[in-house]
Structure formats: C-alpha cells, structure tokens
C-alpha cells in the first residue's frame, strides 16, 4: 500500500511539473464525467413497502392461494391409497414365521379393497428406519462403473469399500447401495367374488427415470451378451443372482439397466421412504377399474431383513393424479398461507386507515 501511494505521488509530481503554464487542458481532463452513473443519478424505480402498497399484494396472494389450496386438497383426497405393513413383527402376522428364516420364505397376507382403484395403479414398497441417506452409504457407489465404463468395472472406485472386491474379484455393481438391493418379491392375487383367483399383471418397466435407464446407467459393451461383459467380476455378497440375471423374464432388463436396481440406486432423502415397485396398468376396456373392490392376497417372498435395525416393510398401492400421490400437506399449507395473507391484509387495512393518514400529516422536520 505504501508503495502504491508513493507511485501516485510520483506521477502527480511529474504531472504538475509537466503541466506548467499550459495546465488548462490537463485541468479539464481531471474533471469527472458528468454521467448519470458516476453521479449516482441513474433513473430508478423507487418502490417502498408500506401498508398501502403491500395490502393489494396480500389480498391477491390470499385470493390465489386459497383456491389452489382447496384444489390441491381435494385432489389429494381423491387419491386412493392402500398400505400393508408386512414386516411380521406381530406374532399373529402370516409373515412372522419368515423373520428368522435364513432360507427364502414365502408368506401371504390377505386384504380387502373397499373402493375401486381407477387408472394406473402404482405399487410401492416402503422401508422405514432405513438410512439410505447415510453419508457412508450414499457415496458407496461408482457411477462410472454403472455407466458402463470398462476400467471402472474391473477397478471400482475406492468409495465402494468395503464392498469393492470379494474373493479377489471386483464386485459389479460395487458398493453398499448395490449390495443391499431390496430383494423381496411381491405379487398380488385377486379373488373374484366367485372365489376363483387371478394373479394381477405387474409391469416391471417404466418405474425408473427414463434418463437413468437410458443414459446414466449402461451396461459395459452394450446390452448383448452380458455374461461375457461381466466376466472377471463377481456379484455383490448379498445377491442371489449375478447382475446380468436380475430379470430372467426380460433380457433387456438385465445388468446395470435393470429398473428395480436403478430405482434402488436412487438413494432416498429420508429414513422412511417408499420406492416404486411395479405398475398395474389400467384395463384396456376402461370399463372395469384397474383394481376392483374385493379380496386380494399379497404374496411375499420374504428375503429382506429389517428387524435388526427396527425397520418396517410396507407394500403400498396408490393411484396418481397430476400432483402425484396422496399428500394433503401442500393443500393445507396453501389454504393456511392464503388465509394468513388474507387476514394480514385485513389487519394492514385497519392499520393503514388508522395510522396511514397520521403519518402523512405528521410534521416532517426540515
């Protein structure tokens, strides 16, 4: 700093030295430009928040928010949702026997739908007390391996530890998230009133983001001959089948692009979460509801242990509107905020009338 001021002075000295008698020109150049910006006189809009100006805004917000809130609330209420906890903690529960079983165990839970489920019905599985958002867990993956990168396939990222290698072979897909893939199988059986039963067709595709299945997740070397592509790797420890045999029914749905897998890989934000499991598509004829009211059975292949961490497993059936699943929160919030704004508007109106005039007439000391 010292030196810079020193230079300025030096320059100054030369300047005034050189100006001498004919200094008039130089003097003019030192005069600041009279631009609006430099004089801080740019044209400007000068709004001020007063009761008067804010009032209309409050009423407008109130008037807009309340109808939106009502709409949202009604929409949310029209959505049908059905939820079964099949953890089997209750000794009476049919799945109780599976809790301590080490081998694959099947149990079935009967339930009744009181109301018909129209349109596409979405089947979710829900877990609670499962910390998918734990930092160690979230980062335990290798996105370039999942994107089909060959070198990452054989040399997975360090982040995958301790699920990186097994028996000296690289794990594909590596990491804690992949290793803990949800592996219960859920099936729905509908009992017609005449006691005959029908297994409800569950669609396995379209449950993951399109961009995930097509861009973010890719099999090494394309989709053909996955067995060869995954040669030299081993399946995660907890998996029954290798990654290329996740879906025996649909060869396109195997490897890293398996949608169940992709859904699982999108880590949930909160410890209680649900994930889309299957889609039950609406009937072609549009006359009968997708899920008519009546008796159903949920057939479970119970593999996934949650008891150790006090977890719960649920199966959820839900219809969907334009605003997603059942969530009264948004509607209630909108109605509340709208009413509060309206109320504040009224309060401000009173204040404005009582005090506004006083302020205007108040003497302003000059």
């Amino acid at each position: 700093m010292m030196a810079s001021s020193y230079n300025a002075k030096e320059e100054d000295g030369h300047h005034s030295g050189s100006v001498g008698p004919g200094g008039a020109g130089a003097v003019k150049s030192r005069k600041p430009d009279n631009t609006a910006f430099k004089q801080q006189r740019l044209p400007a809009w000068q709004p001020i928040l007063t009761a008067g100006t804010v009032l209309p805004a409050f009423f407008v917000i109130g008037l807009i928010f309340i109808p939106i809130g009502i709409g949202l609330f009604v929409t949310s209420n029209n959505i049908k949702e059905f939820e079964i906890d099949y953890t089997g903690m209750d000794p009476d529960s049919p799945c109780n026997m599976c809790i301590n079983s080490t081998t694959p165990c099947r149990c079935s839970i009967p339930f009744t739908l009181e109301q018909p489920f129209e349109n596409n019905v979405f089947m979710y599985y829900g877990l609670s007390n499962f910390y998918q958002n734990h930092r160690r867990y979230v980062k335990s993956r290798d996105d370039s391996q999942l994107n089909g990168d060959k070198s990452s396939l054989l040399y997975p990222s360090k982040e995958c530890e301790p699920y990186r290698t097994r028996n000296g072979l690289p794990v594909a897909p590596c990491g804690a998230i992949a290793n803990s893939l949800f592996n219960d199988t859920l099936e729905l059986i509908y009992y017609y009133p005449n006691k005959s039963s029908m297994s409800i067709p569950l669609v396995k595709t379209g449950i993951a983001w399109w961009t995930d299945t097509h861009v973010k997740f890719r099999n090494p070397g394309g989709n053909n001959n996955l067995t060869a592509a995954f040669k030299g790797t081993t399946k995660p420890e907890n998996w029954q089948n290798p990654v290329y045999e996740l879906d025996p029914t649909n060869p396109e749905n195997n490897g890293f692009v398996n949608e169940d897998f992709i859904v699982w890989m999108r880590t949930a934000a909160l410890p209680t979460f649900r994930k889309l499991y299957r889609i039950i598509q609406k009937k072609k004829d549009n006359l009968t509801p997708t899920l008519p009211p009546g008796n159903y059975t949920l057939e479970i292949t119970y593999n996934y242990p949650v008891i150790s961490f006090d977890g719960h497993k649920r199966m959820i059936l839900s219809t969907i509107s334009w605003m997603g699943g059942k969530n009264p929160f948004l509607g209630i919030a909108y109605i509340t905020v709208g009413s509060v704004c309206f109320f504040l508007g009224v309060v401000l109106l009173i204040i404005h009338h009582k005090f506004g005039n006083r302020n205007n007439n108040a003497d302003i000391p000059n």
Binding site: A3, Q40, F59, H134, R135, D143, W209, L270, R274, G324
Partner: protein
C-alpha cells in the same frame, strides 16, 4: 572575519556525534593529516518501492495473505478437508479460497509490477555526474553518495543533494517541491558562499571538501550538516548546512539554468523515500461489528458441530444403527480409536457447516469499498473548478465511517476560512490607514491614494509611519516572479511593462506586501542581497538584507536585519501580538493594543510590527550569535531559538496590521447542517481567541443565543482551575437537568445551547496529570462540560495539542467517532489521530491532503461527503454485512437440520457445485451491486434534511438486536425451506408418473427455494432499482436456472459421480415442486414484509416518514382504488 569565525566554530563544534555521516565530495580523500579517510558504505540510488521480486512473490504474497485471520481459517478448513474424510470435497472450500487468493495475488502482483516499472524508469533515467572534470551520463541507480551531479532546469533531483553552485551569480537556485508537499511556489535554495564560485565542470572537480551531516531522517524541513572546504591552507573552512542548502529528491529545478550539487542521501535513504512509509491502518466501526458477528458465528459453528457430534454418538450407541448390515464400515475405520473418530467427526461437522462464515464476504466487502470509493472521486458536486480537482480517496476502508461521525474537529485558517488574505487596514501609533477601492484583490485606478481615518500625525508620527511601511516592505520572505503564470498564490501587479507576481508560502505576507503597494510602497525585488523598494515619491530605496530570522510557529514572529543605504542597521520584526508586545519597550502600546483587540473581535488576523536600531557593534554581536547557532550540529534548533530570543528584544512598537481571511463559501451553511445532523463541531486553531471566536460567530458555530463558557488563562488567573471547572460544570449540568424537564413537559422553547472556549495553556493544565491524582478528575469534568456544549472552540493550540484533544474525545467513555479536517501541516497530527481524517487541498500545501483518508477541495464539500456519501455507504455496508450472515444462515441451517434425519452422518444436503457456487456466483452479484447502488432516500433530500443523519448514528443498523433479528429471520427461513421440503417428500411421490425422487432432488428443492428467497429478500430491501439492479437480480436467478439445467443436463466426464444428472429437470417436471417452491418462498418472505410494514406504519423513523411522504402522495389513489375493487370482489 569569516575565517576567524569559522575557526572558533570548528573548536566549538567538536561534539562527538554518533549519528552522522561523512561524505567526500567527488570521492576525494581529504588532505593527509586533516582527518582520517573512512570510506563509508551507503546504499546505491536504487528506489525500491516494490514489495516482491520475481522469486519471492509466491511465498511472500501467500504468507501475507494467510496472515489475515479469515484466510487462515479457510486454509485450515481446506487442509482438514484434504486430510480427513469429510462430507464435502476439498474443492468446495478450496476453489473459493483459491479464487480469493488468486484474485488478490493478481491484484497485488499487478500493482507490484507497476511499481517495478515505475522503479525501473526512475532507476534507469540518466543523470549527469562530474568525473575527472567531465560530464558522464549514468543511470540514476548507479549514483553514489559523494558523486557530484549536474542538474539542468526542469529536471528532477535524482537524490538528496547539497547545492554547491548554480549558474546564477548569487549561488541560489529555485525549486518547486510540488510533488513532495504540494507547495507549487518556487523556493529559493542557497549554495554555501565558499563553493558558489565553482560553477563549471572543471572547477567543481577541483573542489576539495567533505560534508558531515546527520543520518537520514524523514522530516522534510529539517537538516543539519557542515561542509569542510579544504583550500590551499591546512585548516579547512567549515560552513553550516541547513535545509536551505538541501535539494530533495523529487523536487524540480526551476528558473535556474543548471546547478552542481553533491549527493548525500541516496536511494531508500532519501527523505522522500523515508516519508512514504505506510501509515497506521484505521479500522472502521462497521468492521469491528463485523468481527464481533464473526465471533458469534464461529461460536454457533462450533456449538453446532459439538451438538451434532455428541448426538451422533448418543444415537450410534446401538450397534445396529452405527453399522447396520447394509452399511458396513471398512476394517480400518472400525479399528480407529473412538476418540480419534469423535474428533474427526467433529472436524467433519465443522467442515460441513463452515460456509456459515463466508469467504466471499471479505471479498465482497473489499470490492464494495474499493469500487464504492470511486463515486466519491467521480462526484461532480465535490469538484472544484478553481483548483481543477475533485475529492480524493486515499483509503477506501473508511467509507462507511463517514456516516457515523459524531465529533468534527476543524481547523480554522484555510479550512473554515479561505486562507485568501486581504489587507484591510493598518494602524501606526494608533492612526488607522485604510487602502480603499479594493475589489477582490484587483486594484482600481487611483488606488495609490489612501484614506486616513485619523487626524494627520505629527512630524514624529510621520517618521514612524514611513518606517512602518518600510518595515512591512522589508520584513518578509516574499519573492517576486516576473512571469505570466505561476502556480500558487498570484496577484498581478502592473508595473508599467512586465507583470510581476509576489510569491510566498504564507498568504499573509503576500497580502501585506500588496497592501503596502497600495499604500504607496512597492517592494520591487531582491537583488544581490539588496532589497529594492519604490517609495511614494517613485524613488528607489535599497536596503542590504543581512539576516533573516525566519518565522516559526513557536516564536510566532519573524525578523529581518537590514542595512539602509545610509549605513544604519535596522532590525524589523513582525509577529503575533502576544509574541511582540512583551518585547516592546516603547511606542504607543495602549492605542495599538486597543486597535488590535478591536480588529481581532471583527475576525481579522492581526500582526504587530516593531523595530529596533542596531549599532554596528550590536550587529556584530548578533551576527556572531546567529552563525554560532547555525553551525551547531546538535540541538541546532534549540540554540537558534535561544539566539533569536536574545536578539529579538527591546523593540520599539510601530503599529499593527489587519488582514481579513474570508470565510469559505457556504462554511456557515455546512456547519449548521453538521449541527442539525447531530454532530458536535469543534474548532481547533492556533489563532487568538478573539479572532477565532469572531470566525465562529460568522460561521454560525456560535449563535446569538449561545451562552459562551470561557475556560481561558484569563479566567484561571483569577480563580484557580479547579473552581472554574466546577463552576462551569455546575452551570452546564443545571441547564441539562432543567432541559430534560422541559423536554418532558414539551415546552423547550427557551432551549439555548452552550459554547465553550478553551485555550491551549488551560487545556494542557486540564490534561496534565497532577500529583494528587486529581488530574483524571479534571479530565472527566472537562469531558462532561464538553459533552453538553454544542460547540467548542479551542484556540492557541499547538499542532500536537490538536491531536491530544482528538485522542481525549476518542478515548472518552462513549467512544465517539471523530473526524478531523484541516488543510495545513499543523493539522496532520490530528488528521492521523482521528477516526476519519479529511484534508483540504488548500493553499498551505498538500501535506494535510496527503496524510488524510479523504481529501476535498473545499470545506463545503464536507456536507455532501458526510450527509450523502457517508450515509449511503453506511446503509449499504450494514445491509451488506447483515445480509451476508443472513444468507449463510439460510444456507447452512437446513444442512444442520438434515443431520437429524440422516443419522448424523455429515451427509451434505446440497450438491458440491451448489455448495461451492452459492456464495461465489448465485448470490454474490446482487448484494454487491446493491451495496454500490442503493439509495434509500434521494440524495437531494439527504442534503436538504441533515437530521436524517441521526437515524444511522451510533452504528444503529449494526446493533445486536438487529443482528439477532436477521439471524432469527435466517433460521426461520431455513426451517421453512427444510420442513417445507420435508413434508412434501414425506413418504409420498409427487410426480404424475409415480416415480420417486431421491435425496439430491430434496436438496435441490431446498436450494432452489433458498436461492430464490435470499435474492428476493434483497429485492424487497432494494429501494433504488436501476437497470443494473434489475439486470443483476433477475440475471442471477436466471443464471442459477441455466446453470442447474446445464449441470444436470450432461454426464460430466471429469466427475466421478453423476448424482445431479437430470435431477433439476425432473424436479421442474413435477407440478407440486413448482407449487411448493412458490409457497415456501412466499412463506419465507412473509414475516419480514409484515415486520417492515408494521414498523413503518406504527413506529416510523424519520427516514421512513420521508420516504413515505414522497411515495404516499403518488400511490394513495391507486391503492384506495385497488382496495375498493378487491373488497367488492370478496363480497361476491
């Protein structure tokens, strides 16, 4: 005679000086036997103003930067991130830090490069050195001490030189020191009598001499040395050297063809280089608040990290939570000791939350100050046409302090007054003479005559009258310049043919000499030590100028000794009345004193003139005294003062003069505005009480109804100081007590304020700590009195006393913010002492302006400087500081809340890119531009209504309640963001295709709401929307959206994770996400809007009332109209 004198001097001067150097002129050894030749090593003439070299730039610059506590903190965070496993990658804090460090380094590097360039051009410019009788060109940096240098006209001196000879016959040369102290007048420098004859190269080469002088010291006006000239004889001739022989580096040779001089101080030892040492840094009150807030936030940060660490271990006590089957630790992690784990966890939490203390705040604050200060220099209203200069900003660190000033200390002469002197009258033996027909310094035709107010004096009076006029024509240091234009003080005098101009460093002298001219005695020139005067009969009288006893501020007088053509020796003296009257033995003292006092009350500057005749013997004695004092190397000042004291006595009083120093343009208006703005204005002057008081009345510092309290020597002579002080304080306090009662009853019409006058002697008595320990008491009482006086006048102040007063007020218990304004070198100490120092680019040189924080051309500009610029900068920076903390609370608090839902695992809520760019780009520009452009009130209103300044007094916008309000607002907003998103995500889907969102969508939703809220919050606070504000505010929101689309739109090949891929777009494809963003933004902004509106309606400040007055007039009708519409629509 000279020789004999020198001989005695050598003997007398045999002091043993430690701090001296010997310079061998032309590097020639002295003749053997005279003195031992000790070659000394001196630095070369290289000027190094640069801080860095090419090699040490990186380490040295880094070291300097990391010495700042904030940078160091961020470095630590960065290193922690590098070393341990932390939630965010080191890039998030490394990149901003790197950015800050790099930008600063580039700026400093560039400045240093410029310095290098300047240094080089200076160091390499050619100088002419005499070697072996020839002129040799050399680069300036190769100049060594002892070299004989030739300098031609208009060249700048390459180092500090002792003048040996000049092309002028009398051995003088003219120099301007404009670049050193701004005084553009030509000053005369003298060569030593014995060397002035050496004025060709060959002759100079034969000069055999050594110079002994003190080691370099920074005082520009002090120099002591001795030259020993070895002629053919054995004994060298010794001559004293003083500052009149020393040519300073940076000064320019004028009006002299060429000179020969010897280098004595080179390079970094020159007085100029020593003078540009850095000043002590001043810190503003805002910066202090900022640091206090930082500490609070640091505590919040640490406690957050601690809470989370403790909770983490409580929560993890269950091993199934610590390490469930799906999420196992690695072997190394398991084996780590619990304490180490806990400590690294603590550090990791610190890292996660470290953004609460933003790096970018420092950068933004600095940019704001740096860029903002340009508005001061650009201001057209602070540009002075006459001077051709606008305001200067020397430190931008104090911009906002201009809005916080509580005490203004101003100098009188040149600050409140023009320092543009005009001769008004003179009084000889009680007879008053007034030159008439004067108009702004121009002499009207027939101005040579004069009015004599009094009856014509007798024959003795006639003699005195002539002597008086001659005395004034002779007793001065004015130079005559025969040129058309010269910078500095100029008055044209038409002398028939050529225009000549009087030049002097003191405007009083010019006024006096000109006044004399109008009274018929014209000073023509100084030629060959003879002063020529044209008297009333157009005869030319010649006086030989023998000695000049220069003016100094301690003696407050100057004298000359002249020899008239008839061979009589005269000593003429002029000086302040207090300096002259005690030394007068005859003359009409009473009449003159009465006139002087009368004039002083009128606000005129008075000087007394006296003389004495000297016999030749007396003159010899005087001559001897002076030269022995001048030759002394140690305590020369003291010895000179003693000599002067003994010479200047037994005067015969001639008369007195009165010179008017007009008030500066709008000085009274400015002072009134400052008063209205709640500032206390103190005038500190060296002038005498009556004059100063008159100026105070004229400038409305004291009003008619002001009750003046005097604390002067006159009073303390009657009573003792103790009683006077207690008396005064009782008066003031009684008034104060009754005032509060009056204000309570609402009837304070009778309110009249107090003005205090104190003089220097009494002040030092008050401040002197007495033995009984009651000194502190006096100080307290004095401060108590001052506090209750609206105006204080301190007269007869020495420069250091001015600084003392400022210091005293600064240290008083309220710690008020002080501002000192002055124009002269005597104000520098107070300018440096005060919180804000303002220099006026005045007639007394540039020293004040150079040492000040801000320099303005005129006193009236202070009004705009404080009331407009100061007010704006304070408003701007306080919003900047508060907003920065607010937006980072909003940013980080959701992360803190998220820890409760992710098992305290330090999982970040936002993506790395968002963490990094939030402060750098998404929210940085709007606040920066706000803090440059904001004008909550029109500047014309601010100027018209100074009382608005009180609204921001005492750092009112950065007080703790306001800080806490902002922090709570931040916490509230953060809670809204987080739980809004939380309930939206709560176990449900919000897409129309049933697909689920993950944690990154959650974070992105919170972040989007966050960015919109904090930006819109700023938009709500903006009162002045120029196109720039619109551009930046909407632009950065748009930038955020575009960036997010881009960031999620591509698989970035260089990243090892793709977690943000399509997250933002997927979020936007969902209706509820849009709805919740709108809802949450509205909810977050609502409380602040309501608070603002309610406060404005119920408890409006003056500022708000004025804003409203303007606004309501325009919007009233439309609002009522809208209301009637809305209410009607509701009823339907």
């Amino acid at each position: 005679c000279t020789c004999a004198m020198c001989f005695t001097l050598i003997c007398a001067g045999e002091e043993n000086w430690v701090d001296s150097r010997t310079v061998y002129i032309g590097h020639k050894e002295p003749p053997p036997g005279a003195e031992a030749y000790i070659p000394q090593r001196f630095p070369d003439n290289r000027i190094v103003s640069s801080k860095y070299t090419f090699w040490n730039f990186v380490p040295k610059n880094l070291f300097e930067q990391f010495r700042r506590i904030a940078n160091f903190y961020f470095l630590i965070i960065f290193l922690v991130q590098l070393i341990i496993d932390t939630p965010t990658s080191p890039i998030t804090s490394g990149l901003p830090l790197f950015f800050v460090i790099t930008v600063t380094a580039i700026k400093q590097g560039y400045e240093d490069w410029l310095r290098h360039k300047a240094d080089n051009s200076i160091n390499q410019c050619p100088v002419h050195i005499i070697q072996h009788g020839k002129v040799v060109r050399k680069q300036s940096r190769k100049l060594r001490v002892g070299d004989v240098v030739r300098v031609k006209e208009d060249e700048t001196f390459p180092c500090d030189l002792i003048l040996l000879s000049s092309s002028r016959d009398d051995g003088t040369c003219f120099v301007t020191t404009a670049s050193l102290d701004g005084e553009s007048s030509h000053k005369t420098y003298y060569a030593v009598q014995d060397t002035k004859a050496f004025n060709t190269e060959e002759e100079v080469d034969t000069l055999h001499a050594t110079i002994e002088c003190e080691q370099p010291q920074p005082d520009l006006y002090k120099f002591v040395g001795r030259i020993n000239i070895y002629l053919d004889r054995d004994e060298p001739i010794a001559r004293p050297l003083g500052s009149e022989n020393l040519l300073l580096r940076g000064a320019t040779l004028k009006n002299t063809e060429c000179i020969y001089a010897v280098a004595i101080y080179t390079g970094m030892e020159t007085k100029m280089a020593l003078n540009y040492q850095s000043k002590s840094q001043k810190r503003s009150a805002v910066e202090k608040s900022m640091n206090a807030y930082l500490i609070v936030y640091l505590c919040i940060l640490i406690s957050k990290a601690l809470i989370n660490t403790v909770l983490k271990y409580v929560w993890q006590a269950d091993p199934n939570r610590d390490e469930p089957w799906y999420n196992e630790k690695t072997e190394t992690e398991r084996q780590r000791h619990i304490l180490i784990r806990a400590f690294t966890d603590f550090l990791a939490f610190m890292v996660l939350f470290n953004y609460i203390i933003p790096v970018s705040m420092y950068v933004t604050v600095e940019m704001q100050k740096f860029l903002g200060s340009y508005f001061i220099t650009w201001d057209d209203e602070m540009f002075d046409e006459e001077l051709g200069e606008g305001a200067l900003v020397n430190t931008s660190d104090l911009n906002e302090e201009l809005g916080q000033v509580e005490y203004v200390f101003t100098d009188k002469t040149g600050t409140l007054t023009e320092n543009n002197m005009e001769f008004i009258e003179c009084c000889v033996d009680g007879h008053v003479y007034v030159p008439h027909a004067i108009c702004n310094g121009q002499i009207m035709p027939g101005a040579a005559s004069m009015d004599m107010i009094d009856s014509s004096p007798g024959p003795g009076g006639r003699e005195h009258e002539e002597l008086f006029f001659r005395a004034l024509c002779l007793c001065h240091t004015v130079q005559v310049k025969e040129e058309e234009t010269v910078d500095g003080i100029k008055r044209g005098i038409h002398q028939g043919k050529a225009t000549s101009v009087y030049i002097s460093s003191s405007p009083d002298e010019v006024a006096l000499v000109e006044g004399m001219k109008r009274l018929g005695f014209t000073y023509l020139r100084l030629k060959d030590s003879h002063m020529e005067i044209q008297n009333r009969d157009d005869e030319i009288e010649r006086f030989e100028l023998l000695e000049v006893l220069n003016f100094d501020s301690v003696r407050r007088r100057m004298s000359v000794i002249v020899k008239s053509s008839t061979g009589e020796y005269y000593l003429f003296c002029k000086g302040a009345d207090s300096a002259v009257f005690p030394r007068v033995i005859s003359g009409k003292v009473e009449q003159v004193r009465a006139r002087v006092e009368h004039n002083a009350v009128e606000g005129l500057r008075t000087l007394c003139v006296a003389y004495k005749k000297l016999s030749p013997a007396e003159y010899e004695e005087v001559c001897h005294q002076l030269s022995s004092a001048k030759l002394a190397l140690q305590d020369r000042e003291k010895k000179l003062a003693e000599a002067y004291d003994s010479i200047e006595r037994d005067f015969i009083l001639l008369g007195a003069t009165a010179v008017e120093d007009r008030l500066q343009d709008k000085a009274a208006d400015t002072i009134e505005s400052l008063h209205k703005a709640g500032m206390k204005v103190w005038v500190l002057t060296g002038d005498k009480m009556e004059t100063a008081a008159a100026t105070c009345y004229a400038s409305k510092l004291f009003r008619r109804n002001t009750q003046i309290l005097e604390l002067t020597t006159k009073r303390t002579e009657e009573q003792n100081l103790h009683d006077v002080l207690f008396d005064l304080s009782r008066t003031v306090l009684r008034q104060h007590g009754s005032m509060t009662r009056e204000t309570l009853s609402g009837l304070s019409n009778e309110y009249h304020d107090y003005g205090l006058i104190i003089d220097g002697a009494t002040l030092s008595a008050v401040l002197k700590p007495s033995q009984e320990g009651s000194g502190g008491n006096y100080k307290e009482i004095f401060l108590e009195i001052c506090r209750n006086c609206s105006a204080v006048l301190c007269c007869r102040m020495a420069p250091l006393q001015k600084a003392q007063i400022v210091k005293l007020i600064k240290a008083s218990k309220e710690h008020p913010i002080t501002l000192a304004i002055g124009d002269g070198a005597n104000d520098v100490s107070m300018i440096l002492e005060a919180h804000v120092g303002i220099g006026i680019m005045g007639k007394e040189g540039r020293q004040a302006a150079r040492n000040s924080d801000y320099a303005i051309p005129k006193f009236k500009h202070l009004k705009k400087m404080l009331l407009v610029h100061g007010h704006y900068y304070y408003i701007r920076i306080s919003e900047l500081v508060q907003y920065f903390f607010y937006k980072n609370v909003c940013f980080i608090f959701p992360q803190f809340l998220y820890q409760f839902f992710c098992g305290f695992s330090q999982q970040p809520l936002y993506d790395t890119a968002y963490l990094t760019l939030y402060n750098i780009s998404f929210t940085s520009l709007p606040i920066l531009l706000y803090s440059l452009m904001e004008q909550h009130i029109n500047m014309d209103i601010l100027k018209r209504d100074p009382s608005l300044y009180r609204d921001i007094a005492k750092n009112s916008l950065l007080r703790w309640p306001i800080f806490i309000y902002w922090t709570f607002l931040g916490v509230f907003d953060a809670v809204v963001f987080f739980f809004g998103a939380f309930f939206l995500f709560d176990n449900t889907t919000f897409t129309s295709n049933g697909q689920m969102f993950g944690n990154w969508t959650f974070g992105t939703l919170v972040f989007t709401v966050l960015v919109f809220t904090v930006t819109l919050k700023l938009a709500l606070d903006t009162h002045y929307w120029t196109w720039i504000n619109h551009f930046v505010i909407w632009g950065s929101l748009l930038f955020y959206i575009i960036f997010s689309l881009l960031w999620g739109g591509i698989i970035w090949p260089f990243l090892n994770y793709q977690r943000m891929y399509y997250v933002f777009m997927q979020m936007l494809s969902s209706g509820p996400a849009w709805l919740s963003i709108i809802l949450l933004v509205v909810v977050s902004l609502l409380p602040d809007v309501v608070k603002k509106v309610l406060c404005r309606a119920l408890w409006p400040t003056t500022t708000e009332r004025i804003q409203c007055k303007r606004q309501c007039l325009t919007t009233e009708q439309s609002t009522v109209f809208m209301l009637s519409q809305t209410s009607s629509s509701i009823s339907f």
